[in-house]
């Protein structure tokens, strides 16, 4: 299939349709409203379901209803809207309900602004919902990757019976670039062993998130965490760019991962050995791979459009193997290749100073 020029938000919507998304439930919010508009224009004429829900509380709970029947469903929102969904995302993890949530981050906290930002890493990866649970989080850095990861999100949501969040930002959502819509590449597992469709000649089933008997909730959580370990083994994904001989490794996710590459290329042109490590799955976080990278590097510079959120996972993965520096701007402050390059020059001097002093 030929490449087409497509906007990030619309690419995600079309990819969801290609992935077999039968229902979209959403509530408008900038900078992701094109997803709902695209779905509203296409799903009904395909005989699929589109509802503008009364709130994000409603839309995510409609996704739960669809998910309990084993049907592929999606919602999308941004920052404050995603905040309203947290109770339901926790419930989905507990009751093992599949569903896809697209989060196109804007500036915060509060209503913040509508500028691109990455300040909802914690919200997505650590979760604002209650209890011990994990949402699978996929982080695209290009429109092409947004398409591919949307496909993957639908597949692994059903495969693991867990919510999957596609964590994009306003840059990616609003940006147009050439991309290719390949065919949906996955064979999805059969859902008939657990989906609700009426107790017809079989015992009744329930999909609920309340487990009151003594010990039941701990037992369930232990099983869920075994599942999360399985997910970590099978799904952890990262991209390494010019990393083999890198003294300074930039860590960044999403759009910043892409911008960091441009800065690394410029640094290489100027004689600095710089590479980029970009987590593609934020949960599961590629901590083992990053630790190996850190062992070979002299320093890590973590770059984010927030005040240092993934930074905690980076430090945890590095675990003292090398120093970790941070550079970030937030709430609409963009990290340009030039800004990143200036920071690279600054921290690279520290590496060289230490090398001369025989510290490293």
């Amino acid at each position: 299939m030929a490449k087409v020029l497509v906007k990030g938000n619309e690419a995600i919507a079309q990819a969801a349709i290609n992935a077999g998304c039968m229902c979209y439930f959403g509530y408008p919010i900038t900078p992701q409203s094109e997803i709902g508009e695209y779905m509203g224009a296409h799903l009904p004429e395909m005989g699929r379901t589109f509802i503008t829900a009364e709130s994000e509380l409603a839309s995510i709970n409609m996704v739960i209803g669809a998910g309990t029947t084993g049907t592929k469903a999606m919602t999308s929102s941004s920052s404050c809207g995603i905040a309203l969904m947290q109770e339901a995302i926790s419930a989905m993890c507990c009751a093992e309900v599949p569903g896809v949530i697209v989060s196109v981050m804007r500036g915060g906290p509060g209503l913040g602004n509508i500028a691109p930002a990455q300040n909802d890493y914690f919200q997505a990866v650590k979760g604002g919902g209650n209890g011990d649970y994990k949402t699978i989080v996929l982080s695209p850095s290009t429109v092409q990757e947004a398409i591919d990861l949307t496909y993957r999100a639908f597949h692994i949501a059903i495969k693991y019976r867990n919510p999957v969040m596609l964590l994009a930002d306003g840059i990616l959502g609003q940006m147009m670039e050439p991309a290719e819509f390949g065919e949906y590449p996955f064979d999805d597992p059969d859902t008939s062993s657990w989906a609700l469709n009426g107790a017809d000649n079989r015992p009744a089933r329930n999909i609920v998130s309340l487990h009151m008997p003594e010990g039941a909730m701990e037992q369930l959580t232990d099983r869920l965490f075994e599942k999360y370990e399985q997910i970590a083994k099978e799904e952890t994904t990262s991209e390494s760019f010019m990393i083999d001989d890198a003294k300074l490794v930039l860590t960044a996710f999403g759009s910043v991962g892409r911008i960091a590459k441009a800065a690394a290329i410029k640094a290489r042109e100027n004689g600095m050995k710089v590479g980029v490590f970009r987590p593609v799955t934020l949960f599961p976080f590629p901590d083992k791979d990053l630790h190996e990278v850190a062992k070979k590097a002299d320093m890590i510079l973590d770059l984010e459009m927030n005040k240092g959120q993934m930074l905690l996972d980076v430090r945890s993965a590095v675990f003292g193997a090398c120093p970790v520096e941070f550079f970030g701007r937030t709430a609409g402050g963009l990290l340009t290749p030039d800004l990143i390059y200036q920071k690279i020059e600054e921290v690279y001097k520290k590496i060289e100073t230490k090398t001369k002093a025989g510290v490293v």
Partner: protein
């Protein structure tokens, strides 16, 4: 020849035991629902949506598929199920705290969309499971744990009349308020729930039945006093009646 006149509905679990307080109305309504699901042979096609409150443990009583919902969101879960499985029978079972307080926005919008689902809302004018706090439907003057001197309108406003408001939504096919205080009105309650179920089965729209039910524990009354309290006091504020019936309008 012996004639069997009373048996346990097939849609109730054979070993399921109601765990409600003495004199509570939930058991009566759950049995009515089970009888109707049997009568319409819907067991194999039903997905029940539970809610939060004393209405939560549907899977412990019904031999039916059950999806759980967060507090106030069962109409949304029901919407998701029904849109995916339009040939299935989907109902929500909620209390006044769930459907009329935290989730009234969802209830109204489900009605306005005319979703082909049915809601049974037990109204006992308080949050029963958490120990009897005031809800949206609490009567003026009613003593609860959060209104120890009685609900005062100047502080907490007036009771919400759910069935009447839902009847005002265009997508509603049937809306009624019933009681289960006498044999007669238990039969009438069953007929109302039947009508609300039929509204879904016939594809007419949203069905909503509000059932006034006793909560003797939190009202601090004996069961018999609680029943009289509904007939004598609560029905003055939340009157019984059919507020909308699209099928009746069609036959006129």
């Amino acid at each position: 020849m012996e004639t069997l006149v009373y048996k346990r509905p097939e849609s109730l679990l054979k070993d399921g035991q109601f765990t409600f307080c003495p004199g509570c109305g939930h058991g009566v309504v759950l049995r009515i629902i089970a009888e109707l699901i049997d009568e319409y042979n819907l067991k194999k096609d039903t997905i029940a949506i539970s809610s939060v409150g004393c209405s939560i443990f549907l899977e412990k009583f019904f031999d039916l598929d059950v999806a759980g919902a967060s507090h106030g969101r069962s109409p949304c879960v029901a919407t998701g199920v029904k849109r995916c499985k339009p040939d299935k029978f989907v109902f929500t079972y909620q209390g006044d705290g769930d459907a009329a307080t935290i989730g009234f926005n969802e209830t109204i919008h489900t009605a306005c969309r005319g979703e082909h689902i049915t809601t049974i809302m037990i109204n006992n004018t308080n949050f029963g499971m958490t120990g009897g706090q005031a809800s949206a439907t609490t009567l003026v003057g009613q003593v609860t744990t959060t209104t120890p001197k009685g609900r005062k309108p100047e502080l907490t406003g007036y009771p919400l009349h759910a069935a009447e408001i839902i009847a005002g939504c265009e997508g509603t096919a049937y809306a009624a308020r019933v009681a289960i205080t006498t044999s007669k009105n238990i039969r009438q309650a069953k007929e109302a729930i039947r009508k609300a179920f039929e509204a879904q089965i016939k594809g007419l729209g949203y069905g909503f039945v509000e059932v006034l039910a006793a909560c003797p524990t939190n009202w601090h009354m004996k069961p018999i006093e609680a029943v009289k309290h509904i007939d004598n006091i609560i029905e003055q504020v939340h009157p019984l009646g059919v507020f909308k019936d699209v099928s009746a309008q069609e036959t006129k």
